[in-house]
C-alpha cells in the first residue's frame, strides 16, 4: 500500500515519490470535504431535468443557439458534479450510511426519507454513488456531453431541435437516476424512463411510419423485459419477507455488523428492494458454519412461497432479471429491436443504443453481483445467452450493407461479450468492456453519423468508398475505434475483450463444469468475426475508389462540433487502455496483479467475492505473472480476422465482387439476419394474431364488446338516467328522499337494539 498521509501537493510529493504514487495519492485526496457530497447527489439528476424542462417548454421561443447552450451546459454541469463524486469516493474515509450494519466504504449516499409506504412495505427515496455508479456517471455525463455537442451540428437542419434536446436531456437524467438509485424501485424508474426516452427518440421522425414502427417495436420488446424485471422484484420481496421471519441470529456475521434485529430494523428503514437490503440478505444466506442456519438449500416455511428452497428462488429471480436485462441490453432472443432502433438520429444511436442505455442490463447484474453469484445455474444461463447473442449478431453483421446496421449488430455482439463475463462472475471485466465499448462504439457511431452527414445521408457502404482523403479526421478516428473494437494490442478494446475471454477460460461453475469452456470457444470465434466485419466496414467505407452510384461526388468533412467529440472519444478509446493493464497490487493481498479496473471496483464486488469463497460455486484458477499466452492468441485471432477481411475486400472482391456457391447461400442467410424476424413472425406473431383474432371475434366482439361493454354501458346509462330522474331540481322531493333514507337508517338502528 502507498502511504498518502503526507501528501500535500502534486509537485511536492512528485519530487520525493514516483509518478504512480503521486497520481494515486492525488486521486485519493480530493481538495474538498467529501462528507456532504452525498446530499448533493440529487443535483446531478436535477440539472438535466431542468435542461429538459427549459428546452421542452421554452426551446421553441428561445431559438436554436440558446437551446443548444442550455442542453449542453446542463449536461456539462452534471459532468463536473460527477467528476467531484468520482473523486470523492476514492479515499477510504468516505462512507455512506447503511442501516444494515457497518457503513459502506468508498461510497457516498443520501436518504431523502420515505418515498411511499403501504402497510409494512416501505420504499425510501435514496441515492448512492460507489465506484461502480461513479464510473457510470463519468461515462454517461462525459459521453453524453460530447454527444450533445455533436448534436448541435448534426441536428442543425431539423425544425424540431428543441424536442430533440429536451428528450436527450431527459434521457441523460433518467440514465443518471438509474445508476444513482439505491433501490430497485428507483432504478426501475430510471429503467422505464430511459426506455421511454429511447422510444421517443427512435420515433423522433415520426412522420415516417417505418421509424415510428421501429420505436414501437423497441417499446414492446422492452415491455416483455420489464415484465420479467417486475416479477423478479415481487419474488424478491416475497423471498426476503419469508427470510425475515425465518432467519436466525447466527445467519448474520458475528463481527457485530449484523443480527436479525438489525436486519429487520434495516428492512423497515430502507425497504426490501433497496440494494443495501439485498446485500445484507445475500451476505446472510451462504454462511454454512452451523446446521441451524438458513442457507440456500433451506426450504421456505412461510408465506406464499412456502415449500421452495431459497436457492431455487434466487435462481428464478435471477432468470426473471435476465429477461429484463435481455430486453434492455438487446440479448437473444429480445435483441431484435436494437438494429431497428437505428431509425433514430445517429447521435441517439451513439448515446443510447451503444454507450449507455443498452448497458443497463450489465449494470443491473453488476449491482446485484452478490445475488448473481448465489446461483451457478443462472450464471450459466447468462453466459450461454451472451454467447449465443454474440455469435449470432456477429454472423448477421457479416452481410449487412447499412453502416448503422452493422454497428448495431456489432453492439449486440459486444453486449453478448459482457453477458458472458457476468456469467463467469468476472463483473469487473464486463464493466471494463462497458467503459471501453462506450468510448469506441460511440466514436464509431458518431463517425458513421459524420460519414452520413458528409455524404447526403448515404448509409449503404457499397455506395461510399475512398473517404479517407476527403474526411481525414473522421477517417483517423474511425480507424482508431475500429482497431480498438477488433482488439489490436495497444488499444483499450484488446484488454477489455481479452479480460473477458481470459475469465471465461479460467473460471469453472459448480455443476456446469464445461459450459464456460464452450462459451470461451464461442467468444474466440466471435472475436475473429468481429475483426472481420469491422475491417470490411472500414475498408469499404474509407478505402478504394469512390462508388460510381454515390449520392454526391465529393464528401465534405464535418465542422468542429462534430469532429471534436470524435477526436476526444478516439483518444479516450486509446487512453482507456490504462484500465485494462494489470499493474495494481491485488486488493486481497494475495494472488496475481490486478488490472486498474479490477482493483478499483473491488469495494463494489467484494461481497460477491466473499460469497463465492463461502459457497464455492465459482472457482478461478489464478496464474502467476501476466497472461502472455492468452494475449498473444487473442491478438493473433484479431489480426487473422481483420487481415483476411482486408485482403478479401481490398484486393479480391473490390466493391461489386460477389460470393458464389455455398458461400452465397450463407451470405444471403446472414444478410437476412438468419430470418429471425421472419421466425418471430411465423412462430410468435402469426399464432398470437390468429389466436387473438379468434378471441377477438368470440371474446372481444361478442362477450366483451356486446355483452360486457355495451351491456354494462347500457345498464349503467339506464341506471344513471333513472337516478337522474330523481334529480328533478325540486327541493321538496330532495327532502322527501332524505327523510326516506333517514327512516331506513333509523329503523335499522332500532331493529338492532330490539
Amino acid at each position: 500500500m502507498i502511504d498518502c498521509s503526507d501528501f500535500q501537493s502534486f509537485g511536492q510529493y512528485f519530487s520525493t515519490h514516483g509518478f504512480t504514487d503521486t497520481v494515486t495519492c492525488f486521486v485519493q485526496n480530493p481538495p474538498f470535504n467529501t462528507a456532504n457530497i452525498g446530499n448533493s447527489l440529487w443535483m446531478i439528476i436535477a440539472l438535466p431535468i431542468l435542461g429538459a424542462f427549459f428546452c421542452g417548454v421554452f426551446g421553441k421561443f428561445m431559438g436554436r443557439s440558446n437551446t443548444h447552450l442550455i442542453a449542453s451546459a446542463s449536461v456539462f454541469g452534471s459532468f463536473l458534479l460527477s467528476v467531484m463524486v468520482f473523486w470523492a469516493v476514492n479515499p477510504s474515509s468516505t462512507v455512506a450510511p447503511n442501516p444494515f450494519g457497518s457503513t459502506l466504504r468508498y461510497a457516498v449516499g443520501a436518504d431523502y426519507g420515505t418515498w411511499f409506504q403501504a402497510g409494512d412495505f416501505r420504499v425510501n427515496f435514496g441515492l448512492l454513488a460507489d465506484h461502480l455508479s461513479a464510473s457510470m456517471l463519468m461515462v454517461i455525463t462525459g459521453v453524453g456531453f460530447l454527444i450533445h455537442l455533436y448534436s448541435t451540428s448534426y441536428m442543425s437542419h431539423d425544425k424540431a431541435y428543441w424536442r430533440y434536446f429536451a428528450y436527450l436531456n431527459l434521457f441523460v437524467a433518467m440514465m443518471l437516476t438509474l445508476v444513482l438509485a439505491d433501490s430497485l424501485v428507483l432504478l426501475f424508474v430510471g429503467w422505464e424512463g430511459v426506455g421511454m426516452c429511447s422510444y421517443l427518440l427512435i420515433g423522433f421522425w415520426y412522420d415516417d411510419p417505418a421509424k415510428a414502427f421501429a420505436g414501437r417495436k423497441a417499446f414492446i420488446t422492452n415491455r416483455i423485459g420489464d415484465f420479467g424485471f417486475l416479477v423478479a422484484c415481487f419474488l424478491l420481496v416475497l423471498t426476503m419477507g419469508a427470510f425475515t421471519l425465518q432467519a436466525k441470529n447466527n445467519n448474520f456475521p458475528g463481527d457485530g455488523t449484523g443480527s436479525s434485529q438489525v436486519f429487520k430494523a434495516g428492512l423497515s428503514a430502507k425497504g426490501p428492494l433497496s440494494f443495501a437490503a439485498i446485500d445484507a440478505f445475500t451476505r446472510a444466506l451462504p454462511s454454512k458454519a452451523d446446521s441451524n442456519q438458513v442457507t440456500l438449500s433451506t426450504v421456505i416455511d412461510n408465506g406464499p412461497l412456502k415449500g421452495f428452497a431459497y436457492g431455487a428462488m434466487v435462481t428464478v429471480i435471477l432468470l426473471c432479471f435476465l429477461l429484463g436485462a435481455a430486453g434492455k441490453s438487446a440479448q437473444f432472443p429480445l435483441y431484435v429491436w436494437l438494429p431497428d432502433a437505428m431509425a433514430g438520429p445517429t447521435p441517439v444511436s451513439a448515446l443510447i443504443h451503444a454507450a449507455t442505455m443498452v448497458t443497463a442490463g450489465i449494470y443491473l447484474f453488476c449491482r446485484l453481483s452478490y445475488l448473481v453469484v448465489l446461483s451457478p445455474t443462472a450464471m450459466a444461463v447468462i453466459a450461454v445467452t451472451g454467447g449465443i447473442t454474440a455469435l449470432l449478431a456477429a454472423l448477421i453483421a457479416f452481410a449487412q450493407d447499412d453502416i448503422k446496421k452493422i454497428l448495431a449488430y456489432s453492439t449486440v455482439s459486444q453486449l453478448g461479450f459482457m453477458f458472458m463475463a457476468i456469467g463467469a462472475g468476472a463483473f469487473w471485466a464486463a464493466f471494463l468492456h462497458v467503459v471501453t465499448h462506450a468510448f469506441f462504439k460511440a466514436c464509431l457511431f458518431l463517425g458513421a453519423g459524420s460519414v452520413m452527414h458528409g455524404n447526403a445521408e448515404e448509409t449503404n457502404i457499397k455506395k461510399l468508398g475512398g473517404l479517407s482523403k476527403e474526411m481525414p479526421v473522421t477517417w483517423a478516428t474511425f480507424l482508431i475505434s475500429t482497431l480498438a473494437i477488433t482488439g489490436m494490442v495497444p488499444l483499450s478494446g484488446f484488454f477489455s475483450k481479452d479480460a473477458i475471454l481470459h475469465a471465461l477460460h479460467t473460471t469453472t461453475l459448480e455443476g456446469y463444469e464445461h459450459i464456460l469452456h464452450w462459451v470461451w470457444y464461442v467468444g474466440l470465434a466471435t472475436a475473429a468475426c468481429t475483426a472481420f466485419y469491422m475491417m470490411r466496414l472500414y475498408v469499404l467505407t474509407f478505402h478504394g475508389t469512390r462508388a460510381p452510384d454515390a449520392k454526391v461526388p465529393h464528401a465534405h468533412e464535418s465542422d468542429w462540433q462534430m469532429t471534436l467529440p470524435l477526436v476526444v472519444l478516439a483518444m479516450l478509446a486509446i487512453a482507456a487502455v490504462a484500465h485494462g493493464i494489470p499493474v495494481m497490487e491485488n486488493a486481497n493481498r494475495e494472488g496475481p496483479l490486478q488490472t486498474v479496473m479490477e482493483n478499483y471496483l473491488h469495494p463494489v464486488f467484494q461481497n460477491a467475492m466473499r460469497s463465492i469463497e463461502a459457497t464455492g460455486f465459482v472457482t478461478v484458477e489464478h496464474e502467476e505473472g501476466l497472461p502472455w499466452g492468452a494475449w498473444g492468441m487473442a491478438w493473433a485471432i484479431a489480426l487473422a480476422g481483420g487481415g483476411l477481411s482486408i485482403v478479401l475486400y481490398r484486393f479480391v472482391f473490390k466493391r461489386d465482387g460477389q460470393w458464389s456457391g455455398p458461400a452465397e447461400f450463407i451470405r444471403s442467410l446472414a444478410q437476412h439476419k438468419f430470418y429471425v424476424d421472419e421466425l418471430y413472425e411465423l412462430l410468435v406473431i402469426r399464432p398470437v394474431k390468429f389466436v387473438s383474432f379468434i378471441f377477438f371475434k368470440i371474446v372481444d366482439s361478442l362477450l366483451i364488446d356486446t355483452v360486457a361493454v355495451r351491456g354494462t354501458a347500457w345498464v349503467t346509462a339506464q341506471t344513471g338516467a333513472a337516478l337522474r330522474y330523481l334529480q328533478s331540481g325540486d327541493a321538496q322531493s330532495y327532502a322527501a328522499i332524505m327523510t326516506l333514507g333517514l327512516m331506513c337508517a333509523l329503523f335499522y338502528a332500532l331493529f338492532k337494539v330490539l
Binding site: S728, Q732, S733, A735, A736, I737, L740, L742, M743, L746
Partner: protein, 170 residues
C-alpha cells in the same frame, strides 16, 4: 297529578298544535300568527322549567321583534294564497310516508323510555337560582365562553350574508 303536570300538558299540546298550524294554514298571516302562538306556549314551558329569563327573552325577542319583522315582510310582499300546495306528486307521497315512518320510529323510541328516566333531582334553592340572570351570565361567560363567542361569529356572518344576498345586482 300536580298543577305543573297539567300545565305542562296544556302548553305542550298547544305548542304542537300551533306549530302544526304554521305549516298547515294557507294564509301567510295566519301562519305567522300561529308561530307567535307557538313561541308563547314554548315560553310557558320554559317557565315550568324555572327558566324565567329565557321565557321572557323568548317572548320579547321572538314573539315581539322577530315576528314583527316577519309580518312586515309578508305584508310588503303582499303574498297571495298559494294554490300549488294541494297537488299530489309521487315525491310528496314518499315524503309523507317517510315522515310518518320517522314519527313512528321516534314514538317507539320514546315509549321504550323508563318512567323516571331523569335522575336529576334538585333542591328548590338550586332551582330558584337556576334561571336567573346572574346564573345565566355565570354559565355563559365562564363555562360556555367558546360556544358563546362562536355564536357571535355566527350572527356576524349571518348579517353579512343577509346584506350580500339583499344587495342589488352584483
Amino acid at each position: 297529578m300536580s298543577a305543573e303536570f297539567v300545565l305542562f300538558w296544556v302548553f305542550a299540546i298547544a305548542t304542537a298544535m300551533s306549530a302544526l298550524g304554521v305549516i298547515v294554514t294557507k294564509n301567510p298571516i295566519a301562519s305567522a300568527m300561529s308561530l307567535v302562538a307557538t313561541f308563547f306556549f314554548l315560553a310557558g314551558i320554559y317557565v315550568l322549567l324555572w327558566a324565567h329569563t329565557v321565557a321572557v327573552l323568548q317572548v320579547m325577542v321572538y314573539a315581539g321583534a322577530i315576528m314583527v319583522l316577519f309580518l312586515f315582510v309578508i305584508m310588503l310582499l303582499s303574498l297571495g294564497e298559494d294554490t300549488s300546495m294541494t297537488k299530489f306528486s309521487p315525491t310528496r307521497i314518499i315524503g309523507g310516508v317517510a315522515t310518518a315512518g320517522l314519527l313512528a320510529a321516534l314514538v317507539l323510541a320514546f315509549r321504550k323510555l323508563p318512567e323516571a328516566s331523569t335522575g336529576w333531582a334538585a333542591s328548590v334553592d338550586q332551582l330558584k337560582a337556576f334561571g336567573t340572570l346572574s346564573q345565566l351570565g355565570d354559565v355563559l361567560y365562564k363555562q360556555w365562553l367558546f360556544p358563546f363567542e362562536a355564536v357571535s361569529l355566527l350572527l356576524l356572518v349571518a348579517i353579512v350574508g343577509a346584506v350580500v344576498v339583499a344587495k342589488p345586482r352584483i
